[in-house]
């Protein structure tokens, strides 16, 4: 029996969006807000469903609604304990980080009980609505998308250069022997010996790489501020970082460039915890390093910039980076007992 997956019904107070589709116009009011649209489902993770919605009213506070539905497979007592513990852990981390001035979505509202019974419209089944958390909506793209767009742009721009006479000559001279636009040409680790040719592409490429390096240092600094505030993210990936565009965007500058300006905002604290241990901090960085390597293999060689940004961000970063070397060596358990 395979059916199209339907998320469970929303818990209160969000459930009434389904029940009150039609409503009578409000009574005589001086300020009437039009009925806001129901939350829009964005992603269905294993643990939580994320919706885009708003807080208080439809215009002032765009918001993300994270719902942790109850898990009917678990014993109800255990389910309640885990759901409550986790939504609160996340909420506490967000609230603390806002107080500490770390760029994260602010906590607007949270309901950790999740024990209100809701009825599945399709099946008529009753279940607990689940705990929820409303937080600030962060504008911008996730860093994964930004880096991938930048990689594509680099490929497009500098692959064209490879067809220029100078670059053809280089290949004929017995260079890499790779074809135009090949991956080898696009390695951004700076091994490519462009300086001999002194062409414009080289300067521009360097400039583009510097822009990326700057973003990576800002990412490192953001993680540093997080750790300095005593929080471990637990799931650092480039999908859990948003590049929030600067409010005053400089128009016209850098035609066709991928925008790498803006503030790095950390999101999704579903696995976060509070700790100031070097070990926990180092593992947090290690997770990011591995995720970066597997998601952005072409830009992996620049990852050192993240660590540079981290090093400069708070006292204590140096000993964490030292610990990171140990964590790397240890790696994930290299072998296992049968």
């Amino acid at each position: 029996m395979i059916e199209e997956y339907q998320p469970p019904p929303l818990p209160p107070p969000f459930h009434h969006h389904h029940q009150h589709r039609t409503q009578s116009p409000a009574t005589t009011t001086t300020t009437t807000t039009t009925t806001p649209p129901p939350p829009i489902l964005l992603t269905q993770g294993a643990e939580a469903h994320l919706y885009k919605t708003h807080y208080l009213n439809a215009t002032t506070h765009p918001a993300a609604l994270k719902i942790r539905p109850s898990k009917p497979y678990r014993h109800p007592v255990l389910d309640r304990r885990l759901t409550r513990q986790r939504i609160l852990q996340e909420a506490r981390c967000l609230a603390k980080l806002v107080r500490e001035g770390v760029a994260v979505p602010a906590l607007y509202a949270v309901d950790w009980e999740g024990q209100t019974v809701v009825v599945d419209a399709a099946t008529g089944e009753e279940r607990y609505g689940g705990a929820w958390l409303l937080m600030e909506w962060v504008e911008g793209d996730v860093v994964r998308v930004v880096v991938q767009a930048w990689e594509r742009a680099m490929l497009a721009r500098f692959a064209a250069d490879d067809r220029s006479p100078s670059s053809r000559r280089r290949q004929a001279d017995g260079g890499s022997g790779s074809g135009p636009g090949s991956e080898v040409q696009m390695e951004v680790d700076g091994h490519g010996d462009h300086s001999d040719h002194g062409d414009n592409g080289h300067v521009e490429r360097k400039r583009e790489e510097e822009r990326m390096k700057d973003l990576l240092r800002r990412i490192g600094a953001a993680v540093g501020r997080l750790h300095a505030a005593g929080v471990i993210h637990g799931d650092l990936t480039t999908s859990n970082l948003i590049l929030r565009p600067a409010s005053s965007k400089k128009e016209g500058e850098g035609e066709g460039e991928v925008d790498l300006e803006g503030e790095v905002v950390l999101i999704d604290f579903g696995l976060a915890s509070q700790s100031v241990q070097d070990e926990d901090r180092a593992v947090d960085l290690y997770v990011l390093e591995r995720a970066f390597g597997s998601t952005h293999p072409r830009t992996e060689a620049f990852f050192a910039e993240v660590l540079d940004g981290y090093r400069a961000s708070y006292r204590g970063a140096a000993s964490v980076l030292k610990r990171l070397e140990e964590v790397r060596l240890r790696g994930r358990k290299k072998s296992m007992l049968g």
């Binding site: 395979i2 269905q44 294993a46 898990k71 009917p72 497979y73 255990l78 304990r81 358990k333 049968g338």
Partner: protein
């Protein structure tokens, strides 16, 4: 093509014979025999004694399998054996048996990863094409998904395996090891009602079991439920019911242990499914027989619009046929284990195997 498989990485020694028809149709199990080394209540199995058990049984089982399968030695294409992971001495006794047969019959050897054996047999039996695999046994706890010719481990236990956790608690309670400690815990758990609070440790897609075991062991001691006990008390486990004094029963502890650790397993499996975008789950390994685990996994999968595949005790408990199945798949891609390399190893990660037989 026909392959003989010999498995003996833990306390079971098994021999299986599989037949892959030339036309590529469904593989047929020609024989699948097994003998388990059962220890008295309160005791685990030691490598030396287990190896002795395997040595005593392996020849009998091979003869039995050939007889069941109605094939003669000349029909056999290759001999597959468990290279690892597992307990050293028992693995060695089976590797020696495999090498001996190879020389005696003049057949080539295929060393098989035990975990890959479980996965391939599970796929063959259930027809699951590309599932997320939960592999749960006395020695292993892994969440696995296939990608680019490897079975990649997305999550695993950071300390002890789930089966080991259950077995050790069975020892604490002096629960019988016949037919298996986990089976007897499951039966006792059915009478449990009250859920006691136990540590629940999930880190991303990894889990930890040692804290749960330490906590439940401590509760057993605290309430005087550990050690030898009277069979007659068994009825008390169920009858006590509501007239309780706040004291958990042995059944309550088994129930709580199962509910807690199985929730952890289902949770990391669901995470892996969400991560790779899969809707199928396959449960393999000895703990995969547990009906409560299958039920919980089923509810999770249904909620995601997916399905769960599980096998019965013939295939989920360690067996020879799975080694024959995985070995023959490798053999058909040209894989061989030369005699001089036909050793075994206690450590052998699932993701070390190049899965050449899949796209």
């Amino acid at each position: 093509m026909i392959a003989v498989g010999i498995e003996g990485s833990a306390n079971k020694v098994g021999v299986g014979i599989i037949f892959h028809p030339e036309d590529g149709s469904t593989p047929q199990v020609l024989a699948n025999v097994r003998h388990t080394y059962v220890t008295p209540p309160g005791e685990g199995f030691l490598p030396k004694d287990t190896a002795r058990h395997h040595r005593a049984w392996v020849v009998k089982l091979v003869k039995q399998a050939l007889q069941d399968a109605r094939v003669s030695v000349k029909d056999v294409d290759c001999i597959c054996y468990t290279k690892g992971p597992g307990m050293g001495a028992p693995l060695q006794s089976c590797a020696i048996a495999a090498r001996m047969l190879s020389l005696l019959w003049g057949k080539e050897l295929v060393g098989v990863n035990h975990c890959v054996g479980h996965i391939e047999m599970g796929r063959a039996i259930t027809g699951a094409t590309n599932p997320v695999v939960l592999y749960v046994s006395g020695g292993n706890t892994q969440v696995i998904a296939y990608s680019s010719q490897r079975y990649r481990i997305f999550g695993e236990t950071l300390d002890i395996a789930v089966g080991n956790c259950l077995d050790r608690f069975a020892r604490t309670l002096h629960i019988s090891n016949d037919p298996a400690p986990g089976y007897n815990i499951e039966q006792l758990a059915k009478k449990g009602k009250r859920l006691v609070d136990l540590p629940y440790t999930v880190k991303g897609m990894d889990i930890s079991m040692s804290g749960v075991l330490a906590a439940i062991d401590a509760l057993a001691v605290q309430y005087g439920l550990n050690g030898e006990w009277d069979e007659k008390d068994d009825s008390a486990d169920s009858a006590q019911g509501e007239a309780d004094d706040g004291k958990p029963t042995r059944a309550d502890l088994c129930f709580s242990l199962q509910e807690t650790v199985y929730s952890m397993l289902v949770e990391i499996t669901e995470r892996a499914m969400a991560h790779v975008g899969s809707k199928e789950v396959l449960i393999v390994g000895g703990v995969g027989c547990n009906e409560r685990l299958q039920e919980m996994m089923g509810i999770m999968a249904r909620d995601r619009g997916g399905t769960v595949h599980a096998t019965d005790e013939r295939y989920c408990i360690d067996n020879g046929i799975m080694i024959a199945q995985a070995g023959l798949m490798a053999y058909k891609t040209g894989f061989r284990t030369p005699l001089k390399d036909a050793t075994c190893t206690q450590r052998f990660r699932t993701d070390e195997v190049l899965v050449k037989w899949r796209d």
